[in-house]
């Protein structure tokens, strides 16, 4: 009998910058059919955790395993969607070219995309419903469309895990729903981890939710009770409502910034 290898598993992970620890003792387990939402205040270490899983940051203590191996060895199995706001909007590049970056096969000016590459690019664009925009310059797209393009770029390498950093930070509530339902579809084929400070409509889609505020507080349920969040999870919650639908809607208040020591 072989033990199941988890897509992401961290054990006692501590990480940070220049020796300063931002996150401590993080034990995160992501299973292959999970849709994990990680919420937390700004400065709570969300980006630090993502960078650790992506292999951009070495653990200070503990370990990060992606499919049982070091993250740098399994790069081709993770698709990453960064916050789009960090891009230069005026860069002269088309949608197709951005998606093609995700193919990760080094090519020079002379080489053309193979038919398989073309097929994968088309498939990824189709997945995010952006096929009609393939020759558009990235600068001509709206915030939500750009986000879809970056999701396509992550999908083109056919990953088993999709990591998204604040995927809806720059889109309105209506588009936010669209992006989450797209992620929900993708969740049939891959594990999804979304990191955000704004829980928004996310809670209706995730299977697991965790709160990162220096340490990680996990729940294997797709919801967090108010008391749990406030007392154990240190993520202040103002209101939890059930709108009478099948899926409970939760409304979480703004996270208050607090000193790190308090979070322990």
């Amino acid at each position: 009998m072989t033990e199941e290898v988890l897509p992401i598993e961290t054990e006692g992970l501590a990480a940070g910058y220049n020796g300063n620890t931002v996150i401590t003792d993080v034990n995160l387990r992501v299973e292959s059919d999970d849709f994990v939402g990680i919420i937390g205040p700004n400065g709570g270490g969300k980006t630090t955790l993502l960078k650790s899983v992506l292999g951009l940051l070495k653990p200070i203590e503990g370990s990060v395993k992606v499919f049982g191996r070091r993250p740098v060895e399994t790069r081709d199995r993770i698709g990453y969607v960064p916050q789009y706001a960090t891009f230069d909007e005026e860069y002269p590049i088309t949608v197709k070219e951005v998606v093609g970056m995700g193919l990760r096969r080094e090519k020079n000016f002379f080489e053309r995309y193979s038919s398989e590459d073309r097929h994968r690019t088309n498939q990824a664009l189709e997945n995010v419903e952006m096929t009609n925009y393939e020759d558009e310059p990235i600068s001509a797209l709206s915030g939500g469309q750009k986000q879809r393009v970056f999701i396509a770029r992550a999908l083109v390498s056919d990953p088993d895990i999709l990591l998204l950093d604040e995927p809806t930070a720059s889109v309105d509530r209506k588009l936010e729903k669209g992006i989450y339902s797209l992620l929900k579809e993708l969740n049939d084929r891959m594990a999804i981890v979304v990191v955000t400070h704004d829980i928004g409509v996310m809670s209706s889609y995730v299977t697991k939710i965790a709160c990162l505020s220096g340490e990680l507080y996990t729940s294997n349920e797709p919801y967090l009770k108010k008391e749990m969040l406030e007392d154990a999870y240190r993520c202040p919650v103002e209101l939890i409502t059930h709108a009478g639908e099948e899926i409970p809607h939760r409304v979480l208040g703004e996270h208050r910034e607090g000193p790190k020591e308090e979070a322990k």
């Binding site: 992506l54 292999g55 951009l56 740098v72 790069r75 993770i78 990453y80 960064p82 960090t86 891009f87 230069d88 005026e90 860069y91 002269p92 590049i93 088309t94 070219e97 951005v98 970056m101 995700g102 990760r104 080094e106 090519k107 020079n108 000016f109 002379f110 310059p137 600068s139 001509a140 770029r153």
Partner: protein, 281 residues
Amino acid sequence: MIGEAINLFSFPFVQRMLVAGLLASIVGGVIGTYVVVNRVVVMSGGIAHITFGGIGLAYLLQDKLNWSWMDPIIGAVIFALGAGVIFSSNSIQERVRQDSTVGVLWAMGMALGILFLNLVDKSKVTVQEPASILFGNILLIEKLDLYVFAGITLGILLLVMLFFRDLRIITFDEEFARISGLNADGLNLLLFSLIALTVVILIKVVGVILVIATLTIPAAIASVFTNRLHTTMGLAVLVGLTGSFLGIFSSLLFDTPPGPMIVLWLGGMFIPAFVLGKKFV
């Protein structure tokens, strides 16, 4: 008068100017596109000014150590590449703000250049006038210079073609490049080395101070009309060629230095491009 200017094109020194202008337009357009889209105009200006120190040092070594082979262009290449290495270094960027580094080295390069040139025994070594180093003197270009420039140009073009996609990823989204397992530090170093070599060629044509114009203006004009990286490069080369030719021709016509004329033509094209261009995009 125009006829006289046209007649001048049969002179070898004018032909050398035109070839130099052609090579400068090619590298200036291609590498200038990276400079513009990656927003490293100021750093490139820094590299250009730092080379002044290298040119001064080369003359000083010719004088004090009798290194007659130490052509100023060698000093320029060494200083430009050194600046490229420093500007692309991550570990330095983590400690000092990048544009502070640029400010410090920019001024240091100029100061060293002035000092070194002052220390050279002018009776022993023929030194180019500081003004002609700063503002360029395409008239002084020799045949050997052109062979060197042609070699550097070919090398630059080859590297750009080989690393076209990688350089596009690194200039568009460096973090993604790292996550994809690309050697981001190596690619940054490559990019800055290409900029450094381009600067050396351009210095000979338009001089230290005006380099930034030939590196920036053609690509900036081109970027108004296209949304693709390679078409930006192609258009930038054409704009550069037009500016170089008009600049050289009008300098012959009015008997003025060619460097400033080239820059003024390019600057003159920049304004209508932005006024008219945006409407057609």
